[in-house]
């Protein structure tokens, strides 16, 4: 389970930002990366992300596994993109600079590899900021942040409940699955796929029933305490916005503006160095 990313408590400029700031920053940042395909913008975003990460004082070992996993995902995606359409970049940039012909329809074309590089940068532009959001935001602050950006506090509470009960559900699942395995129910490769799926239902059913029971207990407890009576509520972990919070959000908004601005300058999403 060490592979799962979770909050790491530290004291740094990034950690001192409120949860809402980091959430808003992360959302604006991903929108900025989503809309553009401009290499210059994406590289800038990536480098800024790395600088923010260094500022947070988090260590390489905290993210090593996640980075390796993401790299693997990106590589698979790049290989698949190239395998399915080796000339996609030519269609996008409108020119064709062939460097070496390999075999059949595959050759090394500058445009295609530039497109693949941009595709990779599109990931890399968001990863550092996403990692920071996960590692440097206290989960208890999350519900308050959602509420702050205008999401109903009830939905915020759903998220808080999800985060709170993930370990419990995980433990339930583990116990049930061990008990069922002791009775000879197998999920590994030794069984046929359809059998495995059927077997998983034998584990899931007690899990669903115990979860339904849990829902009953929690909602009764909340009902007894009068949850949802008022239109608004306060949060124990909510912190007031400080100067640095406004600065951070301003940076994200500027990035979004730059990203959108370059789309206007380029007359499209792509930066084309080939013409």
């Amino acid at each position: 389970m060490s592979a799962t990313l979770s909050y790491i408590k530290k004291d740094s400029p990034i950690h001192r930002l409120t949860g809402s700031t980091k959430f808003i920053f992360f959302l604006i940042w991903s929108v900025a990366a989503m809309i553009t395909y401009d290499t210059r913008v994406l590289v800038t975003m990536f480098l800024m992300g790395v600088i923010f990460f260094v500022m947070s004082g988090l260590k390489w070992k905290d993210i090593r596994f996640a980075v390796l996993f993401m790299t693997w995902l990106i590589v698979i995606n790049l290989v698949a993109l190239y395998a399915f359409a080796p000339e996609q970049g030519v269609g996008i940039y409108g020119t064709r600079h062939e460097i070496v012909h390999l075999f059949w329809r595959y050759s090394i074309v500058a445009e295609e590899f530039f497109y693949l590089f941009n595709f990779m940068m599109k990931y890399l532009a968001v990863i550092p900021v996403a990692l920071l959001f996960i590692l440097a935001t206290n989960p208890s602050e999350f519900a308050a942040s959602l509420n702050k950006i205008g999401v109903s506090y009830k939905v915020g509470y759903s998220v808080a409940i999800a985060l709170r009960y993930i370990p419990d559900v995980q433990r339930d699942f583990h116990e049930i699955s061990q008990a069922q395995q002791a009775r000879g129910i197998d999920l590994s490769k030794k069984d046929k796929l359809t059998d495995r799926l059927k077997n998983s239902a034998a584990i899931l059913f007690p899990l669903v029933l115990s979860s339904l029971q849990r829902i009953e207990v929690i909602s009764n407890a909340m009902e007894l305490r009068g949850f949802g009576k008022n239109k608004k509520r306060t949060w124990i972990v909510e912190r007031p916005f400080k100067k640095c919070d406004y600065v951070a959000i301003l940076v994200a908004v500027l990035m979004l503006a730059v990203s959108a601005g370059f789309m206007v300058i380029n007359g499209g999403r792509y930066f084309n160095p080939f013409v």
């Binding site: 395909y37 980075v67 399915f84 759903s158 009960y165 419990d168 699942f173 799926l197 909602s219 949850f227």
Partner: protein
Amino acid sequence: MEKKSKFTIKSIVAIGIGAALFFVLGRFVAIPTPVPNTTANIQYGILSVFGIIFGPVVSMLAGFIGHTLIDLSWGSPWWSWIIASAVYGLLIGLAKKAIDIENGKFGVREIVIFNVVQIVAHGICWVGVATALDIIIYDETLSKLVAQSLTAWGMNALTTAIVGTLLLFAYAKTRTKAGSLQKED
């Protein structure tokens, strides 16, 4: 039963617990399949069960929150597929109207309805929504996406057909059927 608003305390809690289940199953339970790097996503079976029991709003938000948490725990969210999960939750929840699970009815008619709805819903989400968003956001090649989304459609629909149907069938048995009591002579 009083019905003031559809968004009751129970549905708020159901969204949270549903998302937690979706997360745990999607993140830690990988059932290997013959296709390399593809695992059966049993979380969609559970999401469907929540849709049938609690309705579309609960399963939509549970899918959205659960999938976002899974992606964040790996490092970076892939919004197009997250949104597809939410749309799937919404669509499968609509079948609640046709299936009276609370009164223990889950016979051949309900099984057929459930599976038709889930296959169509998975089709709309993976082949439709996810592919369209991947093209809009990432400008990927259509042929790669078609291969990817058809695999996802097939795998998820198969998983939901087996896991979802079995779970709902078992759940229906725990409910008391209307008019199940008979007067003794």
